[in-house]
């Protein structure tokens, strides 16, 4: 590239760089700086305190609980949402009457606004009026209503269910699209070779879409780790922090208790986790691209 061309290149890239810088890096760096200052409602002039907020948070047992909750939440929501999504995709990929209608109906939970879905599920989990309790009682599995969202032992499981219900259509649609690119000749070759449906699934179909599976796992992991609306509306992160994960804890500390410095510390930790996930994401992406070139 000549000197002149290099200048032109910078001019063309500049608007995008400015946007990304202003909208992403400025707040991110701002968060890191914020975490080094003590700011609160009664003390609105930021005061430098170094890593004091970090020490405070790391010593607080709630931090451990938030990390653990985030892990449980992310692992179960991602796993269930992907497995369920894949099963539904396999089902929708079959030739059957009413296929088009089924495909649109499956999308419904995903297109509902998160807050609406959360309120819907709060009703379902209601101890007196909820569908969940009346269903379980009529099946004879429990004999009196449980306050699913108010018990520390059931709250996390309950919101995981709601999030899986809300999120699985996304995975189903992604997997359905991938399944339709699987080479039918390979599937037929496996049929001729004597492989039954299960064998074909594991030997031909799943290997054929494994790059999509890897990328969808990572994408849903990032999205799930950042989840906020459903949890906030259903439990506020409670009871007793039983469902507090990073985003709800940041919101609670920052805008509930106006402890901006400590909220920023949580923010910095979640940036680190996400940065790691994104690095894995691009690693998988470029590996897939290399493989694509080889064949």
């Amino acid at each position: 590239m000549s000197h002149r061309e290099r200048w032109m290149a910078w001019i063309f890239v500049a608007p995008a760089l400015l946007l990304v810088g202003a909208l992403m890096y400025y707040p991110m760096i701002g968060t890191i700086i914020e975490s080094l200052y003590s700011t609160s409602f009664i003390n609105p002039v930021p005061k430098f305190q170094g890593l004091a907020a970090y020490y405070k948070i790391l010593a607080d047992p709630i931090f451990g609980q938030v990390v653990w909750n985030s892990l449980i939440w992310t692992v179960f929501v991602v796993a269930l949402q992907n497995v369920f999504g894949l099963l539904v995709a396999l089902l929708l990929n079959q030739q059957m009457p009413g296929q088009g209608l089924m495909r649109s109906l499956v999308l419904l939970p995903w297109v509902l606004p998160g807050v609406v879905a959360a309120i819907l599920w709060r009703f379902m989990y209601d101890p007196q009026l909820g569908l969940v309790n009346s269903l379980l009682i009529s099946l004879g599995l429990i004999d009196h209503g449980t306050a699913w969202l108010a018990e520390t032992s059931t709250a996390m499981g309950s919101i995981i269910m709601a999030a899986v219900w809300k999120g699985f259509p996304f995975s189903a649609i992604v997997y359905l699209a991938a399944l339709q690119t699987v080479d039918q000749e390979q599937v037929e070759a496996a049929k001729i070779d004597g492989a039954g449906a299960t064998r074909r699934l594991f030997d031909v179909v799943l290997p054929g879409i494994k790059d999509v599976i890897a990328i969808n796992l990572l994408l849903t992991t990032i999205l799930t780790f950042n989840y906020f609306d459903i949890i906030w509306v259903m439990t506020n992160g409670g009871p007793q922090n039983a469902t507090a994960i990073f985003p709800t804890q940041i919101y609670e500390l920052g805008f509930g208790q106006f402890r901006f410095g400590e909220a920023a510390v949580y923010g910095v930790f979640s940036i680190l986790v996400l940065a790691l996930l994104i690095m894995v994401y691009f690693g998988v992406l470029s590996r897939g691209r290399h493989r694509g070139k080889a064949s």
Binding site: E188, A189, K191, D193, G194, A195, S295
Partner: protein
């Protein structure tokens, strides 16, 4: 040797109201190499897919040996198939690809490795067993597909246009290899192609199909020398047979451009046919017809002269040293021993007494 005969009895396939295959009956003998030949959309691939079990026939019966296989899944029919794009498993090595049918059948690892090696030797892939299909050339992928087909010594081979993705030179080479391999193994083989040269060179018998119907079944020479109808006559041969519509009445050809002794007992709207290599150029007044040279093409071993006779173009294959020029007037002489007559309305061959 384990061989299979295949019998189709009035087999049909409909897709809604579309008739893909209509009442095909065909018996294939043990060890025979039979080619299903026809233009695209003629139903030849569908016929093969029904034999394979990948599509279900809408009507009729398919037997392998004496067993009706209509309801048997493909894996239970003891057949192997080579696909047009080879259908290799891209994430498996060559060895795993070839060994897959054995793995599914539950053959133990040691035995599997031995058989895979033997099959790979046979298709000359010995050194490539650890490669993935993506690292192989088209010809090598083709060999992997063949290796996978022969590894479990099936009773029946099905091949769906297996050579159509290879370049011209490799195709000729693999064609010879395939023929040799099939003779060597003696396995009954059904081969689908739209390429008449493949059909002529490979087949013991050719089944010509068009519009979902069987047009003619016979040895390559039969089909070439005595085509059963206008379609077969016009489909085989390069260039195909010249076909000229004429009318015969009272034992005389009622056509001004053509002087020809009408065969006994042939009357009405007739299409007369003769292959380009059976025709000769002559002086304008010494032939059966005359016209203006439309174009000449040197093919190397011969020259193809196309002559415009009335509204029709007639191709004549002549000696490579023939010197005629475009626009020149020439005569064309038929070889009376190699004339074909077809009923113009039905298209079918008209029998006649050739001894006259």
């Amino acid at each position: 040797m384990i061989l299979a005969s295949v019998t189709l009895s009035s087999v049909s396939k409909f897709w809604g109201s579309f008739v893909a295959v209509e009442k095909i009956s065909l018996a294939m003998a043990d060890g025979e190499f039979i080619v299903l030949l026809g233009p695209s959309g003629c139903g030849k691939s569908t016929t093969m897919r029904m034999i394979a079990g990948l599509d279900d026939p809408s009507a009729g019966e398919i037997r392998i040996d004496d067993r009706v296989v209509n309801d048997l899944p493909p894996g239970k029919r003891d057949l192997a198939m080579v696909f047009q794009n080879y259908g290799l498993y891209p994430h498996m090595t060559v060895a795993d690809n070839i060994g897959y049918p054995l793995k599914v059948a539950g053959v133990n690892r040691e035995e599997r490795e031995r058989q895979v090696r033997a099959a790979a030797e046979r298709v000359e892939l010995g050194g490539l067993l650890e490669r993935k299909p993506g690292q192989l050339s088209g010809g090598q992928r083709q060999r992997v597909a063949l290796g996978r087909a022969i590894v479990r010594t099936p009773k029946l081979f099905l091949m769906d246009e297996p050579l159509s993705n290879l370049d011209a030179k490799l195709r000729v080479y693999m064609r010879a290899e395939l023929k040799h391999l099939q003779r060597d193994l003696g396995t009954t083989t059904i081969y689908v192609t739209h390429d008449q040269v493949e059909a002529m060179t490979l087949a013991d018998r050719v089944a010509v199909m068009a519009n979902g119907k069987l047009q003619q079944v016979g040895t390559p020479l039969d089909i070439y020398n005595t085509p059963a109808n206008v379609f077969v006559a016009g489909f085989l041969g390069n260039p195909p047979m010249n076909l000229l519509p004429i009318a015969i009445a009272d034992g005389r050809v009622q056509d001004s451009e053509l002087t020809l002794a009408a065969p006994a007992g042939v009357n009405g709207a007739i299409t007369v046919g003769q292959r380009p290599e059976d025709m000769r150029l002559s002086e304008t007044d010494a032939g059966n017809m005359a016209g203006e040279v439309y174009t000449t093409e040197l093919l190397g071993d011969s020259t193809l002269v196309t002559v415009k006779v009335g509204k029709n173009l007639v191709a004549v294959k002549t000696d490579k040293n023939t010197k005629v020029h475009m626009g020149e007037n020439v005569g064309i002489r038929f070889d009376p021993k190699h004339l074909h007559f077809f009923d113009t309305t039905s298209g079918t061959r008209v029998a006649f007494d050739a001894s006259r």
